[in-house]
């Protein structure tokens, strides 16, 4: 059960050639993938490994304060990869958190990869749960597996996947281990091949009542909105940015553009680089 670190033969086979680094050739792409995660978990290293770009990496939290964008092609599908600033939460206390949250919420990526540190999983999962409140399309990349191995830490990704309700993939971005599996999982989550059932934190009954009252109202105003529950939680918390987004129609625009199948709002957001 705990033996999850083995690499499958497929990873070392020449099928790796299916990944093509596209660097900054971003004019045409089919899907948008966001990279979120705590500071210093290797998001930029993963970003560089996939895109072939040279986003500056460094071993200190808070190195990436803006988002970087690049592209890769996998099995004929072109992905735009957005490297978000590392954050411990999405409560939007500082600018970097705001950048990360707004992109996941308003940028509507087709899939959000939360990069976690295998050696400090407990601390990292907070963010995973927060991201899963916003979107179901999540893949958890359990990075730094080599470091975990050296420290004698074993991560059971199957148990993790089951509990979280989204796929968890062990990787070592530095050496490229597990990237092939990660890419095919991202692709499967986007196409719906893998159905995700993101875990939602319940809280006290009193809390649940307040959340459900409010989210029902939100769903009434915005039929088909995917993250009414998260908006309700943020509003109850008095989040000024979310209040503003509701009042100035940003949320309405997000919902209506999602329902237009021909125009992908995320694409527009990504192309214009709007936050």
């Amino acid at each position: 059960m705990s033996k999850v670190l083995s690499t499958s033969p497929c990873e070392t086979c020449p099928a790796n050639a299916r990944l093509e680094q596209m660097g900054l050739k971003l004019e045409k792409f089919d899907k948008v993938v966001a990279l979120a995660g705590n500071p210093n978990t290797g998001k930029s290293t993963l970003f560089n490994a996939l895109t072939g770009l040279n986003q500056h990496t460094g071993n200190w939290p808070g190195k990436t304060v803006t988002r970087a964008e690049g592209g890769y092609e996998f099995s004929g599908v072109r992905y735009k990869l957005v490297d978000l600033p590392g954050t411990y939460s999405l409560l939007s206390a500082s600018q970097d958190e705001e950048v990360a949250r707004n992109f996941i919420l308003f940028g509507q990526p087709d899939c959000t990869v939360v990069v976690t540190d295998a050696t400090a999983l407990e601390r990292n999962l907070n963010l995973v749960l927060q991201v899963m409140e916003i979107t179901e399309k999540v893949v958890v990349a359990v990075n730094l597996m080599d470091e975990a191995r050296r420290k004698g830490i074993q991560v059971d990704v199957r148990s993790l996947s089951r509990d979280l309700g989204v796929p968890a993939i062990p990787i070592t971005a530095r050496s490229g281990e597990g990237l092939q599996t990660l890419l095919s999982t991202i692709s499967d989550v986007i196409t719906g091949e893998i159905q995700t059932h993101a875990l939602r934190v319940q809280g006290t009954p009193e809390l649940q009542r307040a959340i459900s009252t409010l989210s029902q109202q939100i769903e009434q105003i915005y039929p088909g909105i995917p993250n009414a529950r998260w908006l309700a939680i943020r509003l109850l918390d008095g989040d000024a940015r979310v209040q503003e987004a509701i009042l100035n129609g940003e949320i309405a625009e997000m919902v209506s553009s999602q329902q237009r199948s021909d125009v992908s709002f995320s694409r527009k957001m990504a192309v214009e680089g709007r936050q």
Binding site: N54, H56, P61, V65, N126, D163, Q202, Q220, G238, L247
Partner: protein, 462 residues
Amino acid sequence: MNSTLTPQDIIDQADALRPQLSSGFRDEMVKSLYAEVERITQRAVQVGSQKKYDLDQRIDRLVTSPIFGLPLMLLLLAGVFWVTIVGANAPSALLAKGLFFLEDQAAALFTQWGIPWWITGFLWHGVYRGLAWVISVMLPPMAIFFPIFTILEDLGYLPRVAFNLDFLFKRAGAHGKQSLTMAMGFGCNAAGVVATRVIDSPRERLIAILTNNFVPCNGRFPTLIMLATIFVAAAFPPAFASFAAAGAVVGVVLVGVFFTLLVSWGLSKTVLKGEASAFTLELPPYRRPNIGRILYTSFIDRTVFVLWRALLTAAPAGAVIWILANINVGGLSLAQHAADFLNPFGVLLGLDGVILLAYIIAIPANEIVVPTMMMVYMGVGMMTDPPDMNTLRTLLVDGHGWTMLTAVNLMLFSLLHNPCATTIMTIYKETKSYKWTTLSVVITLGLAFLVTFLTATIVRLF
């Protein structure tokens, strides 16, 4: 379905529901979140032996110890400068020799071909000489300093520095993460200003932005290193010279940290009043640096970037100096007139007119003040041959009356003076305010004048 519901109703509803929740909403949410996370982690993670972890902790106990932390940091910094100084000396001299030999040959060839003297002069003694100076003065130190700095960054040493310095910043009413942004400032002040985004509080972020310029950036380090090498080191016996030079550069950095703290304290007591806010800082595990990545970052991202930027300014600066030096009004060149005009003020600051003129010409990228200064000296005929580093000192002292005071004050001036044009633009972009941008220039330039004036006055009194 209630069709009369509006977005405002939702906000009102949330406001009405919020007080009904007991013991604070956020606490409830966070508590459930943590409980859930703990449950999942317990099932998925098994911790075996912790050998490696112990080693990390033992290193950390030493590196961040209240007694050894700071001295170790200074020792490390001095070591890095020493390696840079010792290593850069010979290649610098060699590069200067080679590049200026090329200038002579090319100029001679141009003359032979019958090309008018002013084209030869403008191209080779103006533009080319500017480029040659910048390359020979700046390239070798950068090629040594950047990889070492990048290794420290990749290892995970920077957050430890922030940890060690936190208590100082707290006392100055500033944010502990300010030292992280300062560390980025060592690379480039514009990057340091952008890095202040990690600071949550707008007040403390502004303090960090306004004081970032007090850490000498990579562009200014070669200047400091060169001055320390040819002046400070020369005052010591040869065996200690390189150590003295490294010590002098560390001294300048410490003066920079001192002014960072002083100005932060001053700001937090006046225009940016407030208490230092608490924060958590994660000390990441030490990681083995990736050699390929380090080489790429230090050479392509840093060395080539800084050098290219310096060259872009040095070429036109060289051209301007050549023109100023070759247009004569009343028997004296324009450069001489300007230098004479600025001289009284320069002397007051322990500098001279030529240095101030160089500073003004190099304003777009004031890290090239020293190369510009050399060009002005040559342009106004104070140096006939481009000298190598070893004879530079004799020429400056004998030919132009430089003293230790001139060298020390030039180091201080280059540490404190206003940010370069790129950094000023970045400050405006980050603050969106003319007021704070102006203040960032006024504070630094004011301090540069004040401090050099004071040292000059005090030295002259004794």
